[in-house]
Amino acid sequence: MNEYQKGERILDVQDLELGFNTYAGQVQALRGVSFHLNKGETLAIVGESGSGKSVTIKTVTKLLAPNAVIKGGSITYKGQDILNMTDKQFSQLRGSEISVIFQDPLSSLDPVMKIGKQITETLRIKLKMPREQAKARALELMAAVGIPEPEKRFDEFPFQFSGGMRQRIVIAIALACNPEVLICDEPTTALDVTIQSQILELIGELQRKNDLSVIFITHDLGVVANVADRVCVMYAGKIVETGTVEEIFYDPRHPYTWSLLTSMPSLATSAEDKLTVIPGSLPNMVHPPKGDAFAARNRFAMKIDFEEEPPMFKISDTHYAATWLEHPDAPKIGIPEPLKSRIAAQLAREV
């Protein structure tokens, strides 16, 4: 089954277009989303809420709401077209090859089923494992995700677990069938930082051990810097910049990426630095604006940004940005302050 080698393209999403039918009209949630995932790597998807991150992964995992309409594009997993698979065909993959973890562990656990059974259930259904063997494996998994005294906790219910422990159980269930791809949708957003840090370490460890490929969705750029090999920055239903984690943090090109990087203080932000406020809000996605959807909030916007949608300009083999600023004829404005000095200081520092 593991015929894919490290670094090979395991998942390929091309030009995904998707709308939601609502009374107010069709919400254009995905407007040509393309990205890929390589075997063994972590791809982070960032963007403010409403930009289409969850919809993207729900499309990949066929968990879309019934009012969704897929209008175009393709999703290929190990050479198979999964966009056009039936739910029945896909259910063979879900859980056993592609697993998802959501933000709220409570919503993915059954409140009235014992913790242990929730794990063995998956093993028995997906892998047709006999009862005894499933229990042994479940205990192994609970230990692997750092649940102390798994035998004792096996028969407890979700309400007896803290938030961090519940998220560990969700991870144990997601990993039960040795998936190839693990998709995490803001798995640590509701947790305290010390618990978040432990969960990130755990996912990283399991990834190295099992050669997992991971898609990690978050709005926390610190978390991105921690987990990601590559990054996609998403805005209004599009990937507006993609690159290696170093390219995105040390050589960002899209004005939206610039604002994201300076809109929240980090421990290194000095009290004198003003935070960048991204004015306004996401555009109305029933009638997305002409041109670059970020133009109205972009202080560097040029005339063409309001008229024509920018293509993805190539910066390196791994780095692309959809902004007219990358056009050869555009004024060379470069990274604005205070981001420019911050990056220079980061790169000058010994680590």
């Binding site: 010390t194 840090s197 926390d220 991105v224 810097a225 421990l267 932000t269």
Partner: protein, 309 residues
């Protein structure tokens, strides 16, 4: 900022009793700190450590189990007469985490903002009240047209602005902001922080800024108090907390915060903190001044050991 202490909290305890026979929940356990006029003190710690209970006890929403709260030179924790109570409610105001839950959906923005003014009988004439209300709307970046609308017509960030306007109209000396940005979308958080920051400059406000996010607290506060399991474990300037943390809990908290710098982040090592047994009655845990204006919680024996080392 001056050296005048606008708020002084001494040995504050707030215990919750679930039943006669079970041990009390010591939500706030012997907490002492002060805030100078015009200063922002950050209170930071993980969920359940007692931040909200501290804030609510200071502002008289809870009756303390023991300890004292002094505000503007007067003791305010016990029974107050009507006039004294009014002086506290108008001069100390609170902004809550959840702007949705803290606004009455059936009141217009004008009614919401003016409620506290009416209760405290601050601007008896309707004209004057209105004028003040418009001034508040303007200060928090809303417009006059917003006054006649209802909370559901606003986004999360706008609702938090309404809450701030409501808190400011009584011209308070001090604001307790309990996780004022935690429930907001990231892109809105910076807006609210910037507004609070401008207001504090303009009005010389004193702020007790409560949050679980140490990066935000460090950025926004002059001094920081780190809380763990009902106690303040370390208190110093925000620079020093970050540059030279002393308490193991502070070190652990700092080491867990991801920073947006991949080269640093890929090498970050988390320091784990084993929550120790709570102190016994003979340990006398208190904040000890290890460097000028830098306090760390230590028992008598820990303090002795520290001084020898």
């Amino acid at each position: 900022m001056t050296d005048e202490r606008i708020l002084e909290v001494k040995h504050l305890c707030k215990f919750f009793y679930a039943g006669k026979h079970s041990a009390p929940m010591k939500a706030v356990n012997d907490v002492s700190f002060h805030i100078n006029r015009g200063e922002t003190l950050g209170l930071v710690g993980e969920s359940g450590c007692g931040k909200t209970t501290t804030g609510r006890t200071v502002i008289r929403l809870y009756q303390p189990t023991s300890g004292e709260v002094w505000f503007n030179g007067k003791r305010i924790d016990g029974k107050l007469n009507a006039e004294e109570a009014r002086a506290v409610t108008s001069k100390m105001q609170m902004v809550f985490q959840d702007p949705v839950a803290s606004l009455n959906p059936r009141m217009t923005v004008e009614e919401i903002i003016c409620e506290g003014v009416k209760i405290n009988n601050l601007y008896p004439s309707r004209e004057e009240r209105r004028k003040q209300m418009y001034r508040m709307l303007d200060m928090v970046g809303l417009t006059r047209e917003h006054a006649t609308r209802y909370p559901h017509e606003f986004s999360g960030g706008q609702r938090q602005r309404i809450c701030i306007a409501r808190a400011l109209i009584t011209q308070p000396d001090m604001i307790i902001a309990d996780e004022p940005i935690s429930a907001l979308d990231v892109s809105i958080q910076a807006q609210i922080l910037n507004i609070l920051s401008d207001l504090r400059k303009e009005l010389g406000l004193t702020i007790l800024f409560i949050a679980h996010d140490l990066s935000v607290v460090k950025y926004f506060s002059n001094r920081v108090a780190v809380m763990n399991a009902g106690r303040i474990v370390e208190l110093s300037s925000s620079r020093e907390i970050y540059d030279a943390p002393m308490h193991d809990y502070t070190k652990s908290l700092l080491s867990a915060i991801p920073v947006p710098d991949p080269r640093v982040e890929k090498k970050r090592k988390r320091i784990s903190y084993d929550r120790r047994q709570d102190y016994g009655p003979d340990d006398h845990p208190q904040l000890r001044e290890v460097r000028p204006e830098h306090f760390v919680l230590m028992s008598d024996s820990e303090w002795e050991a520290y001084q020898k080392a």
